[in-house]
Symmetry: C2
Subunit: 213 residues, 2 copies
Protein backbone atom coordinates (compact mmCIF):
# COMPACT_ATOMS: atom_id res chain seq x y z
CA UNK A 1 0.00 0.00 0.00
CA UNK A 2 2.86 2.34 0.76
CA UNK A 3 5.03 3.40 -2.15
CA UNK A 4 8.61 3.13 -0.92
CA UNK A 5 11.50 3.93 -3.21
CA UNK A 6 14.86 2.34 -2.60
CA UNK A 7 17.01 5.09 -1.27
CA UNK A 8 20.71 5.84 -1.47
CA UNK A 9 22.76 7.27 1.37
CA UNK A 10 22.99 10.28 -0.88
CA UNK A 11 19.38 11.40 -0.78
CA UNK A 12 18.86 9.92 2.67
CA UNK A 13 21.03 12.72 4.02
CA UNK A 14 19.18 15.22 1.88
CA UNK A 15 15.82 14.14 3.27
CA UNK A 16 17.30 14.31 6.75
CA UNK A 17 18.31 17.96 6.50
CA UNK A 18 15.08 18.77 4.76
CA UNK A 19 13.16 17.27 7.65
CA UNK A 20 15.43 19.08 10.10
CA UNK A 21 14.47 22.35 8.45
CA UNK A 22 10.77 21.54 8.64
CA UNK A 23 11.10 20.63 12.31
CA UNK A 24 13.12 23.72 13.10
CA UNK A 25 10.58 25.89 11.30
CA UNK A 26 7.76 24.31 13.26
CA UNK A 27 9.56 25.12 16.49
CA UNK A 28 10.18 28.72 15.51
CA UNK A 29 6.55 29.09 14.47
CA UNK A 30 5.29 28.52 17.99
CA UNK A 31 5.80 32.18 18.75
CA UNK A 32 5.33 33.90 15.40
CA UNK A 33 3.54 33.42 12.12
CA UNK A 34 4.83 32.11 8.84
CA UNK A 35 4.91 35.47 7.10
CA UNK A 36 7.50 36.71 9.59
CA UNK A 37 9.64 33.58 9.57
CA UNK A 38 13.02 34.18 7.97
CA UNK A 39 14.88 31.67 5.89
CA UNK A 40 18.07 32.51 7.78
CA UNK A 41 16.34 31.82 11.07
CA UNK A 42 15.53 28.32 9.88
CA UNK A 43 18.98 27.47 8.58
CA UNK A 44 20.60 28.91 11.70
CA UNK A 45 18.44 26.71 13.90
CA UNK A 46 19.41 23.65 11.87
CA UNK A 47 23.08 24.55 11.70
CA UNK A 48 23.53 24.91 7.96
CA UNK A 49 24.32 27.80 5.64
CA UNK A 50 21.52 30.05 4.37
CA UNK A 51 22.33 28.93 0.85
CA UNK A 52 21.55 25.33 1.70
CA UNK A 53 17.91 26.37 2.09
CA UNK A 54 17.51 26.77 -1.66
CA UNK A 55 18.41 23.12 -2.24
CA UNK A 56 15.12 22.18 -0.63
CA UNK A 57 12.62 25.02 -0.96
CA UNK A 58 12.11 27.94 -3.28
CA UNK A 59 11.15 30.23 -0.39
CA UNK A 60 9.47 30.22 3.00
CA UNK A 61 6.04 30.01 1.43
CA UNK A 62 7.10 26.78 -0.26
CA UNK A 63 8.29 25.38 3.06
CA UNK A 64 4.96 26.34 4.59
CA UNK A 65 3.02 24.39 1.99
CA UNK A 66 5.23 21.36 2.62
CA UNK A 67 4.54 21.71 6.32
CA UNK A 68 0.77 21.54 5.81
CA UNK A 69 0.74 17.95 4.65
CA UNK A 70 2.83 16.71 7.57
CA UNK A 71 0.62 18.57 10.03
CA UNK A 72 -2.70 17.14 8.82
CA UNK A 73 -1.20 13.76 8.05
CA UNK A 74 -2.45 11.40 10.72
CA UNK A 75 -5.49 13.15 12.12
CA UNK A 76 -7.60 12.20 9.10
CA UNK A 77 -7.29 8.49 9.59
CA UNK A 78 -7.48 8.65 13.38
CA UNK A 79 -10.78 10.49 13.36
CA UNK A 80 -12.16 8.27 10.63
CA UNK A 81 -11.29 5.18 12.62
CA UNK A 82 -12.88 6.59 15.77
CA UNK A 83 -16.10 7.42 13.95
CA UNK A 84 -16.36 4.03 12.30
CA UNK A 85 -15.56 2.19 15.51
CA UNK A 86 -18.43 3.71 17.49
CA UNK A 87 -21.90 4.26 16.14
CA UNK A 88 -23.64 5.34 19.32
CA UNK A 89 -23.78 9.15 19.29
CA UNK A 90 -22.67 9.69 22.86
CA UNK A 91 -19.75 7.29 22.45
CA UNK A 92 -18.65 9.00 19.30
CA UNK A 93 -18.64 12.38 20.95
CA UNK A 94 -16.71 11.24 24.00
CA UNK A 95 -14.11 9.32 22.04
CA UNK A 96 -13.61 11.99 19.42
CA UNK A 97 -13.09 14.74 21.99
CA UNK A 98 -10.69 12.54 23.93
CA UNK A 99 -8.83 11.72 20.73
CA UNK A 100 -8.46 15.38 19.85
CA UNK A 101 -7.18 16.24 23.31
CA UNK A 102 -4.63 13.43 23.12
CA UNK A 103 -3.54 14.46 19.65
CA UNK A 104 -3.06 18.08 20.68
CA UNK A 105 -0.90 16.99 23.59
CA UNK A 106 1.15 14.77 21.31
CA UNK A 107 1.68 17.23 18.44
CA UNK A 108 1.06 20.76 19.69
CA UNK A 109 3.36 22.50 17.24
CA UNK A 110 1.88 20.88 14.15
CA UNK A 111 -1.64 21.76 15.18
CA UNK A 112 -0.79 25.25 16.29
CA UNK A 113 0.69 25.83 12.86
CA UNK A 114 -2.47 24.60 11.19
CA UNK A 115 -4.86 26.65 13.28
CA UNK A 116 -2.72 29.76 12.94
CA UNK A 117 -2.09 29.63 9.23
CA UNK A 118 -5.58 28.51 8.28
CA UNK A 119 -6.52 32.19 8.26
CA UNK A 120 -2.95 33.46 8.10
CA UNK A 121 -1.18 35.91 5.83
CA UNK A 122 0.26 33.50 3.24
CA UNK A 123 -2.21 32.73 0.50
CA UNK A 124 -0.64 29.54 -0.82
CA UNK A 125 -0.58 28.02 2.65
CA UNK A 126 -4.17 29.07 3.30
CA UNK A 127 -5.23 27.32 0.11
CA UNK A 128 -3.25 24.19 0.95
CA UNK A 129 -4.89 23.95 4.37
CA UNK A 130 -8.32 24.58 2.89
CA UNK A 131 -7.76 21.79 0.39
CA UNK A 132 -6.72 19.35 3.10
CA UNK A 133 -9.66 20.26 5.33
CA UNK A 134 -11.97 19.85 2.37
CA UNK A 135 -10.70 16.32 1.87
CA UNK A 136 -11.27 15.76 5.57
CA UNK A 137 -14.85 17.03 5.32
CA UNK A 138 -15.62 14.67 2.46
CA UNK A 139 -14.17 11.74 4.42
CA UNK A 140 -16.31 12.54 7.44
CA UNK A 141 -19.36 12.95 5.23
CA UNK A 142 -18.73 9.52 3.75
CA UNK A 143 -18.68 7.96 7.23
CA UNK A 144 -21.84 9.81 8.26
CA UNK A 145 -23.59 8.55 5.16
CA UNK A 146 -23.32 5.01 6.55
CA UNK A 147 -25.41 5.84 9.62
CA UNK A 148 -29.05 4.80 9.74
CA UNK A 149 -30.13 8.30 10.69
CA UNK A 150 -28.80 9.63 7.40
CA UNK A 151 -31.89 8.26 5.72
CA UNK A 152 -33.20 11.01 3.49
CA UNK A 153 -30.09 13.19 3.59
CA UNK A 154 -28.72 14.53 0.35
CA UNK A 155 -24.98 14.68 -0.26
CA UNK A 156 -24.72 18.47 0.06
CA UNK A 157 -26.59 18.29 3.35
CA UNK A 158 -24.22 15.65 4.65
CA UNK A 159 -21.26 17.77 3.62
CA UNK A 160 -22.77 20.74 5.42
CA UNK A 161 -23.02 18.66 8.58
CA UNK A 162 -19.51 17.28 8.13
CA UNK A 163 -18.17 20.79 7.61
CA UNK A 164 -19.86 21.95 10.76
CA UNK A 165 -18.29 19.09 12.69
CA UNK A 166 -14.82 19.56 11.23
CA UNK A 167 -14.93 23.25 12.11
CA UNK A 168 -15.88 22.30 15.65
CA UNK A 169 -12.87 20.00 15.80
CA UNK A 170 -10.55 22.74 14.63
CA UNK A 171 -12.03 25.13 17.16
CA UNK A 172 -11.56 22.49 19.84
CA UNK A 173 -7.92 22.08 18.82
CA UNK A 174 -7.43 25.82 19.11
CA UNK A 175 -9.13 25.93 22.50
CA UNK A 176 -7.03 23.03 23.82
CA UNK A 177 -3.88 24.79 22.67
CA UNK A 178 -4.95 27.99 24.45
CA UNK A 179 -5.68 25.98 27.58
CA UNK A 180 -2.18 24.52 27.50
CA UNK A 181 -0.80 28.06 27.54
CA UNK A 182 -3.12 29.09 30.40
CA UNK A 183 -4.94 31.47 28.11
CA UNK A 184 -8.69 31.09 28.58
CA UNK A 185 -10.55 28.08 30.07
CA UNK A 186 -8.86 24.92 31.37
CA UNK A 187 -8.46 21.74 29.38
CA UNK A 188 -11.31 20.05 31.22
CA UNK A 189 -13.63 22.97 30.57
CA UNK A 190 -12.77 22.98 26.89
CA UNK A 191 -13.52 19.26 26.66
CA UNK A 192 -16.85 19.69 28.42
CA UNK A 193 -17.88 22.66 26.29
CA UNK A 194 -16.94 20.83 23.11
CA UNK A 195 -19.01 17.82 24.11
CA UNK A 196 -21.99 20.07 24.82
CA UNK A 197 -21.68 21.67 21.40
CA UNK A 198 -21.42 18.35 19.63
CA UNK A 199 -24.45 17.04 21.49
CA UNK A 200 -26.50 20.03 20.42
CA UNK A 201 -25.44 19.53 16.83
CA UNK A 202 -26.36 15.86 17.05
CA UNK A 203 -29.82 16.76 18.32
CA UNK A 204 -30.20 19.12 15.41
CA UNK A 205 -29.27 16.32 13.07
CA UNK A 206 -31.89 14.01 14.54
CA UNK A 207 -34.57 16.69 14.47
CA UNK A 208 -33.68 17.69 10.94
CA UNK A 209 -34.04 14.12 9.70
CA UNK A 210 -37.37 13.70 11.43
CA UNK A 211 -39.16 16.59 9.73
CA UNK A 212 -38.11 17.87 6.30
CA UNK A 213 -35.02 15.88 5.34
Amino acid sequence: MSRTTVIGAREAQKLKTRQAMLDAALGLLEEQSLSSLGLREVTRAVGVTPTAFYRHFRDIEDLGVALVDQALGNLHTLVRATLVEHDDAEDRIDHTVALIERHVRAHPAHLRFLVRERHGGVRAVRLAIAAQLDRFVREVAAVLALDEESGGWSEPELEMLAGLLVDQMVLAVSAFLSAMLDEGPTTAEVAAATRLRLRLIHLGREASGRRAP
Copy 2:
Protein backbone atom coordinates in the same frame (compact mmCIF):
# COMPACT_ATOMS: atom_id res chain seq x y z
CA MET B 1 -24.19 58.80 26.60
CA SER B 2 -20.95 59.43 24.71
CA ARG B 3 -18.13 60.94 26.72
CA THR B 4 -16.64 63.67 24.55
CA THR B 5 -13.72 65.73 25.76
CA VAL B 6 -13.21 69.23 24.45
CA ILE B 7 -10.26 69.04 22.16
CA GLY B 8 -7.49 71.46 21.16
CA ALA B 9 -6.09 71.78 17.68
CA ARG B 10 -2.95 70.41 19.26
CA GLU B 11 -4.15 66.93 20.11
CA ALA B 12 -6.61 66.91 17.23
CA GLN B 13 -3.60 66.62 14.95
CA LYS B 14 -2.10 63.97 17.17
CA LEU B 15 -5.24 61.85 16.99
CA LYS B 16 -5.26 62.37 13.25
CA THR B 17 -1.78 60.92 12.74
CA ARG B 18 -2.51 58.16 15.20
CA GLN B 19 -5.58 57.20 13.22
CA ALA B 20 -3.62 57.47 9.98
CA MET B 21 -1.15 54.95 11.38
CA LEU B 22 -3.93 52.57 12.38
CA ASP B 23 -5.49 52.84 8.93
CA ALA B 24 -2.17 52.37 7.17
CA ALA B 25 -1.41 49.34 9.29
CA LEU B 26 -4.79 47.85 8.47
CA GLY B 27 -4.06 48.29 4.79
CA LEU B 28 -0.64 46.69 5.03
CA LEU B 29 -2.10 43.79 7.00
CA GLU B 30 -4.26 42.66 4.12
CA GLU B 31 -1.35 40.69 2.73
CA GLN B 32 0.68 39.76 5.79
CA SER B 33 0.24 39.14 9.49
CA LEU B 34 0.87 41.40 12.41
CA SER B 35 4.01 39.65 13.57
CA SER B 36 5.73 40.54 10.31
CA LEU B 37 4.53 44.13 10.14
CA GLY B 38 7.38 46.59 10.58
CA LEU B 39 7.06 49.88 12.37
CA ARG B 40 8.97 51.56 9.54
CA GLU B 41 6.51 50.18 7.02
CA VAL B 42 3.69 51.87 8.88
CA THR B 43 5.33 55.25 9.23
CA ARG B 44 6.47 55.16 5.60
CA ALA B 45 2.90 54.52 4.47
CA VAL B 46 1.67 57.45 6.54
CA GLY B 47 4.48 59.77 5.49
CA VAL B 48 6.09 60.43 8.87
CA THR B 49 9.44 59.58 10.42
CA PRO B 50 9.97 56.24 12.15
CA THR B 51 10.58 58.14 15.39
CA ALA B 52 7.07 59.55 15.31
CA PHE B 53 5.74 56.06 15.84
CA TYR B 54 6.90 56.03 19.45
CA ARG B 55 4.76 59.07 20.27
CA HIS B 56 1.69 56.87 19.80
CA PHE B 57 2.57 53.22 20.44
CA ARG B 58 5.21 51.35 22.39
CA ASP B 59 5.63 48.82 19.59
CA ILE B 60 3.70 47.03 16.86
CA GLU B 61 2.05 44.73 19.38
CA ASP B 62 0.62 47.78 21.11
CA LEU B 63 -0.75 49.08 17.84
CA GLY B 64 -2.31 45.69 17.21
CA VAL B 65 -4.18 45.77 20.50
CA ALA B 66 -5.47 49.25 19.69
CA LEU B 67 -6.65 47.96 16.33
CA VAL B 68 -8.74 45.21 17.92
CA ASP B 69 -11.21 47.57 19.53
CA GLN B 70 -11.82 49.53 16.35
CA ALA B 71 -12.34 46.33 14.40
CA LEU B 72 -14.94 44.79 16.69
CA GLY B 73 -16.52 48.12 17.47
CA ASN B 74 -19.81 48.23 15.63
CA LEU B 75 -20.57 44.59 14.91
CA HIS B 76 -21.63 43.98 18.51
CA THR B 77 -24.48 46.41 18.50
CA LEU B 78 -25.56 45.64 14.95
CA VAL B 79 -25.97 41.94 15.62
CA ARG B 80 -27.68 42.63 18.94
CA ALA B 81 -30.16 44.94 17.24
CA THR B 82 -30.86 42.40 14.49
CA LEU B 83 -31.50 39.64 17.03
CA VAL B 84 -33.82 41.77 19.14
CA GLU B 85 -35.71 43.07 16.13
CA HIS B 86 -36.72 39.63 14.86
CA ASP B 87 -37.84 36.78 17.04
CA ASP B 88 -38.90 34.33 14.37
CA ALA B 89 -36.03 31.88 13.92
CA GLU B 90 -36.00 31.91 10.13
CA ASP B 91 -36.11 35.70 10.03
CA ARG B 92 -33.24 35.96 12.46
CA ILE B 93 -31.09 33.63 10.42
CA ASP B 94 -31.77 35.40 7.13
CA HIS B 95 -31.23 38.88 8.51
CA THR B 96 -28.13 37.97 10.48
CA VAL B 97 -26.44 36.33 7.51
CA ALA B 98 -27.35 39.27 5.30
CA LEU B 99 -26.02 41.67 7.92
CA ILE B 100 -22.73 39.83 8.13
CA GLU B 101 -22.31 39.81 4.37
CA ARG B 102 -23.01 43.53 4.22
CA HIS B 103 -20.61 44.23 7.04
CA VAL B 104 -17.83 42.23 5.43
CA ARG B 105 -18.29 44.17 2.20
CA ALA B 106 -18.20 47.46 4.09
CA HIS B 107 -15.17 46.75 6.30
CA PRO B 108 -13.16 43.93 4.80
CA ALA B 109 -9.81 45.00 6.22
CA HIS B 110 -11.02 45.29 9.80
CA LEU B 111 -12.62 41.86 9.71
CA ARG B 112 -9.74 40.22 7.92
CA PHE B 113 -7.48 41.50 10.67
CA LEU B 114 -9.72 40.04 13.34
CA VAL B 115 -10.09 36.63 11.75
CA ARG B 116 -6.37 36.43 11.01
CA GLU B 117 -5.05 37.53 14.36
CA ARG B 118 -7.62 35.64 16.43
CA HIS B 119 -5.29 32.64 16.20
CA GLY B 120 -2.25 34.66 15.17
CA GLY B 121 1.29 34.85 16.45
CA VAL B 122 0.98 37.82 18.82
CA ARG B 123 -0.23 36.77 22.25
CA ALA B 124 -1.45 40.15 23.50
CA VAL B 125 -3.59 40.63 20.40
CA ARG B 126 -4.97 37.12 20.66
CA LEU B 127 -6.02 37.82 24.22
CA ALA B 128 -7.57 41.17 23.32
CA ILE B 129 -9.65 39.55 20.58
CA ALA B 130 -10.67 36.71 22.88
CA ALA B 131 -11.81 39.21 25.48
CA GLN B 132 -13.90 41.12 22.94
CA LEU B 133 -15.47 37.97 21.55
CA ASP B 134 -16.24 36.85 25.08
CA ARG B 135 -18.15 40.07 25.68
CA PHE B 136 -19.94 39.45 22.41
CA VAL B 137 -20.89 35.93 23.50
CA ARG B 138 -22.35 37.19 26.75
CA GLU B 139 -24.36 39.84 24.91
CA VAL B 140 -25.81 37.26 22.53
CA ALA B 141 -26.57 34.96 25.46
CA ALA B 142 -28.45 37.77 27.15
CA VAL B 143 -30.63 38.26 24.07
CA LEU B 144 -31.26 34.54 23.73
CA ALA B 145 -32.35 34.40 27.36
CA LEU B 146 -35.32 36.59 26.45
CA ASP B 147 -36.74 34.03 24.01
CA GLU B 148 -39.62 31.83 25.07
CA GLU B 149 -37.77 28.70 23.97
CA SER B 150 -35.07 29.40 26.55
CA GLY B 151 -37.39 28.09 29.25
CA GLY B 152 -35.37 25.70 31.34
CA TRP B 153 -31.95 26.74 30.04
CA SER B 154 -29.20 27.44 32.53
CA GLU B 155 -26.83 30.34 32.02
CA PRO B 156 -23.81 28.16 31.12
CA GLU B 157 -25.96 26.34 28.54
CA LEU B 158 -27.04 29.62 27.01
CA GLU B 159 -23.44 30.76 26.84
CA MET B 160 -22.51 27.50 25.15
CA LEU B 161 -25.17 28.14 22.52
CA ALA B 162 -24.13 31.75 22.13
CA GLY B 163 -20.50 30.72 21.76
CA LEU B 164 -21.46 28.24 19.07
CA LEU B 165 -23.35 30.95 17.21
CA VAL B 166 -20.61 33.56 17.52
CA ASP B 167 -18.05 31.08 16.21
CA GLN B 168 -20.32 30.43 13.25
CA MET B 169 -20.47 34.16 12.57
CA VAL B 170 -16.70 34.44 12.64
CA LEU B 171 -16.40 31.46 10.33
CA ALA B 172 -18.95 33.06 8.04
CA VAL B 173 -16.94 36.27 8.00
CA SER B 174 -13.85 34.32 7.08
CA ALA B 175 -15.67 32.45 4.34
CA PHE B 176 -17.11 35.67 2.88
CA LEU B 177 -13.65 37.19 2.83
CA SER B 178 -12.29 34.16 1.01
CA ALA B 179 -15.15 34.37 -1.48
CA MET B 180 -14.29 38.00 -2.18
CA LEU B 181 -10.77 36.88 -3.13
CA ASP B 182 -12.11 34.05 -5.30
CA GLU B 183 -10.63 31.49 -2.96
CA GLY B 184 -13.17 28.77 -2.29
CA PRO B 185 -16.97 28.96 -2.75
CA THR B 186 -18.85 32.00 -4.02
CA THR B 187 -20.52 34.56 -1.79
CA ALA B 188 -23.96 33.14 -2.47
CA GLU B 189 -22.82 29.63 -1.63
CA VAL B 190 -21.27 30.82 1.61
CA ALA B 191 -24.51 32.56 2.58
CA ALA B 192 -26.56 29.46 1.79
CA ALA B 193 -24.23 27.13 3.69
CA THR B 194 -24.20 29.44 6.69
CA ARG B 195 -28.00 29.55 6.77
CA LEU B 196 -28.13 25.75 6.63
CA ARG B 197 -25.74 25.49 9.54
CA LEU B 198 -27.66 27.99 11.63
CA ARG B 199 -30.92 26.18 10.93
CA LEU B 200 -29.46 22.90 12.09
CA ILE B 201 -28.22 24.55 15.27
CA HIS B 202 -31.64 26.06 15.83
CA LEU B 203 -33.27 22.65 15.49
CA GLY B 204 -30.81 21.31 18.03
CA ARG B 205 -31.78 24.10 20.37
CA GLU B 206 -35.47 23.28 20.08
CA ALA B 207 -34.90 19.57 20.51
CA SER B 208 -32.61 20.13 23.46
CA GLY B 209 -35.22 22.22 25.25
CA ARG B 210 -37.90 19.64 24.61
CA ARG B 211 -36.18 16.70 26.32
CA ALA B 212 -33.60 17.21 29.07
CA PRO B 213 -33.14 20.97 29.33
